[in-house]
């Protein structure tokens, strides 16, 4: 313990510079929210229009959105817009919105891609007559070049691992491209959302982070970037867009890093919308002319329980902790009501692939019973002991993420209630790395939520128990369950949707009988927008990443006004 304390001290000194900003954010939800709440009440009765004196954003066919994320870095080869949210690019396919699981429709592909029998070769027909924003014509060579650039080690692409099933991409005709895979992969279409860049832009191998595409994107998308400065990106509608010119002609993105400042600029009426943390977004509830949107996501938070850990690896402890966690109160208290209970990595929106019975009730009494039956008996200090082993687990979380901190704290108190001590440790990822297989970690996921395979395979497959396979965070619990493994493989390989759905339901059934993690919640991402009478296309399931490229604006290129 003493050693840990010292490490913390050293870290806090080492991180001083970083912490300045972090502290500003960390304090955000508490004090300034209260202050802001008061101000909101004041403003509501005095200056509803605020002090905006630029061209009134509402009324014109333009939008001004404030984002908490740094602008620039618009290179798909470096992983930008991998879920198809990039406004300057199109992928081969794009998402269709609406409630539930999003579907896919062809974008730069002329029709949805088709696979051979074992899902190892995929053929894509290219949409004809599309041009890039630099005037050049889009063709199969651009598709080949984009994917080759992502996979080229010289690019050092951040997205490389996500495409490791792709062996090669080959131009097989004037308008066809073939994806040849290293192993059968049924959900390949999820890897076709990423934007396509012109072959000329990636002709010279080099670091993707150094490409000019980062600040001068060239794509086929509905918008083109016309101005980029550190605080502002201005996008204009692509009047020649193959799917029709967008009605919103101008989109201005402002970089406003501080959550509270974004809220205040929203109050002042100067911007049309922004992403805000749940508690801050709630302060806009019921305000005239403003809408608070909570978008469903598959962005889960949960904790690993490593098999190697003498406490966390015990099946009885794993089950008991799942029953002890009061997930609904975490949603109410930590997430301001904007979240959903998680039992497995599969959210309810997965429809047929979701097993409604695979859930954990909040049942602390049953949890205590299970622990006692398994030989974990209460010691003098209220913490259980079995064969001299104290029921004590270290839970690591990334120190910059306040939601993880709050969830970890809530979980620790739930665990303590059934006699399991959870010691929290705030660390940076590189400090968590070496201990990932021995101590519990508060994890997040849902980077690629548009198929059950991309959502769950890395977390649950025992393939990753081998030390050198995948990321150290893949299957952080070193979870091994033969039924789960077999069903995950069926889901990965089968091209029959009904068979896949059944396989994932089987995974969930088997998992809840033998849990290896404590999945806690799925976050809803919260946004505030000014009402302006647009007909929007409805919501879409959101990945882990969020910002104003998601939210109600994910499909703004297709918005219409009567």
């Amino acid at each position: 313990m003493a050693v840990t304390r010292i490490t913390h001290l050293v870290r806090s000194v080492a991180h001083r510079e970083g912490n300045i900003v972090v502290r500003a954010r960390a304090a955000g939800p508490v004090l300034p929210t209260i202050a802001l709440g008061g101000v909101l009440a004041l403003v509501a009765c005095t200056t509803p229009g605020g002090s905006a004196d630029g061209e009134g954003a509402a009324g014109d066919a333009e939008l001004v959105l404030a984002d908490g994320y740094e602008l620039g870095g618009y290179n798909p080869v470096a992983g930008f817009g991998a879920a198809g949210e990039a406004k300057m690019y199109d992928g081969l396919v794009r998402l269709t919105g609406g409630e539930g699981m999003p579907g896919f429709e062809p974008a730069l592909a002329a029709e949805l891609p088709t696979a051979n029998d074992d899902a190892t070769v995929w053929t894509v027909t290219i949409r004809p007559g599309v041009t890039f924003s630099d005037g050049t014509t889009f063709g199969p060579e651009d598709v080949v070049a984009t994917y080759e650039a992502i996979l080229d080690p010289a690019s050092a692409s951040e997205a490389r691992s996500s495409f490791d099933m792709i062996d090669e991409v080959v131009e097989t005709g004037d308008d066809t491209v073939e994806f040849r895979l290293a192993y059968p992969y049924a959900p390949l279409v999820t890897k076709m959302l990423i934007g396509i860049v012109p072959a000329e832009a990636v002709a010279t191998p080099g670091l993707a982070a150094e490409s000019t595409l980062n600040s001068e994107p060239v794509g086929t998308g509905p918008y083109t970037l016309v101005d980029l400065s550190p605080d502002r990106a201005v996008l204009e509608a692509n009047e020649d867009y193959w799917d029709g010119a967008p009605e919103i002609k101008k989109l201005t993105l402002l970089y406003v890093p501080d959550d509270n400042t974004r809220a205040q600029r929203m109050v002042s009426g100067e911007i049309d919308g922004t992403n805000l943390p749940p508690l801050l977004a709630n302060t806009f509830e019921g305000k005239d002319g403003m809408t608070v949107t909570a978008q469903t996501s598959a962005d889960w938070r949960g904790l690993s329980l490593p098999t190697n850990n003498p406490v966390a690896g015990d099946p009885a402890v794993r089950m008991a902790l799942n029953l002890a966690a009061d997930r609904q109160s975490m949603i109410d208290d930590v997430l301001g009501g904007h979240g959903r209970v998680a039992a497995t990595p599969y959210p309810e929106v997965y429809g047929e692939a979701y097993e409604p019975d695979a859930v954990f009730e909040h049942d602390p009494a049953r949890a205590e019973e299970i622990l006692t039956d398994a030989g974990w008996v209460e010691g003098a200090d209220g913490i259980r002991v079995k064969d001299g082993q104290r029921a004590q687990i270290a839970l690591m979380y990334n120190s910059v993420d306040t939601v993880r901190r709050d969830l970890a704290q809530a979980f620790a108190s739930d665990a303590l209630a059934v006699g399991v001590e959870v010691d929290l440790e705030a660390l940076s990822w590189d400090r968590i790395d070496p201990r990932i297989n021995t101590d519990a970690t508060l994890l997040g996921g849902g980077d690629e939520p548009f198929d059950p395979d991309t959502q769950s395979y890395d977390a649950l497959s025992s393939v990753f128990v081998q030390p050198d396979v995948g990321s150290v965070y893949a299957n952080a619990s070193d979870y091994q369950n033969a039924t789960v493994d077999a069903a995950l493989e069926v889901g990965r390989r089968s091209l029959d949707q009904a068979e896949r759905d059944a396989a994932y339901r089987e995974v969930q059934d088997a998992y809840v009988d033998d849990p290896g993690y404590v999945y806690l919640v799925f976050l809803d991402h919260t946004y505030v927008s000014k009402d302006a009478g647009w007909n929007m296309s409805g919501p879409v399931l959101e990945p882990h990443a969020h910002g104003v490229t998601w939210g109600p604006w994910w499909s703004l290129q297709s918005w219409t006004r009567d």
């Binding site: 970083g18 500003a24 620039g72 050092a156 691992s161 109050v267």
Partner: protein, 375 residues
Amino acid sequence: MTTVRDGRGKRPAAEPGTGPADGPARTSARPDAASRTAGDDAPSVRDLRRGRHRDVWGMVRRRLLFIVPVTGLVSAGLFAAAKYSPFDPLVGYLGTRYMTTTEADKAIISEQLGLDQPWYATYWGWLQDLFGGDLGRSRSFSQPVAQVIAERLPWTLLLAGAGLALAVVVALLLGITAGVRSGGLVDRAVTAVCVVVQGLPPFVLSLAAIAVFALTLGWLPAAGLSDGGSDPTAGGVLRHMLLPVVVLAISQVPWLLLAVRESVVTSKGEDFVAGAVSRGIPTGIVTRRHIVPTSLAPFVNIVGVRLPELVVGAVLVEEVFSWPGVAGAIVTSARDLDMALLAFLTIGTTVVVMVGSLLADVVVALMDPRVSTDG
């Protein structure tokens, strides 16, 4: 660092202001001192001033030469420290993908980015680029370092320059007032306010300022350079910079003000002031001619040395006011170990602090003849 040798500087010179205050004992300790009131025909004031200027120039030259090895050491130390720091640059580079990137791919990326090289190889490469006129590329911002700096530095200079100027003026006016009447009502009020403000983090001040002046009163825009992301205009920027400049100034005022007050109080107790008062010179003149000039020297020094405080203040103020300055880039580049950018910013800051303290010393040396020029 200049040293005040309390009247026994090795090249003492006459100064009209302090001359009359020097008692006989001191004059005898400095036989060469010229004193107008004494009416000796020692070298004229002009000659002494010329000699003084020569000394100051010597100091400037020596210090400028000194900057070269210091920046060399600082930059080498920076690259070495970065290599051995607990931060993994891949965490910053990969962002949220750090967790999903396979170990094999992490190794490939490390190799491509040169993260596996020893620090001196990275340093050498950086030096070669630097002397070839290439500042390198920033990984964090996916831009050339020169562009990152060119786009952001002017905004920081504008904000920090205006903030510091305002803070200095306020600190001088209030600090002298408080120091001259130390223990009085103004002094106690000002000191109390300073202590309170010093305890308030700048981001709280910033948010409060936005809440009051932008939202409640509607007098000023909340943040940014322009309203709703329209093209910035001179008038618009002026309106938008008012709040951040004032907040930055307020956050810097306490330590400046307390320093002024402190040195005024100290000067007040000196013999030459007592002498002046005992000779019946009016209080106003004693304050203006005797106390203030001698109090300013340590103050100017403090402004020079504590420039880093200003940078820290600017980081927070820029973040809250979404001011597109360079201060945030310092934090980002340090967190990501974005060496090209971090090295430039660190060395830039080092040079600014050294030149700042040199300028302060020059001003002090010219203002206060008792100060030696470290020659």
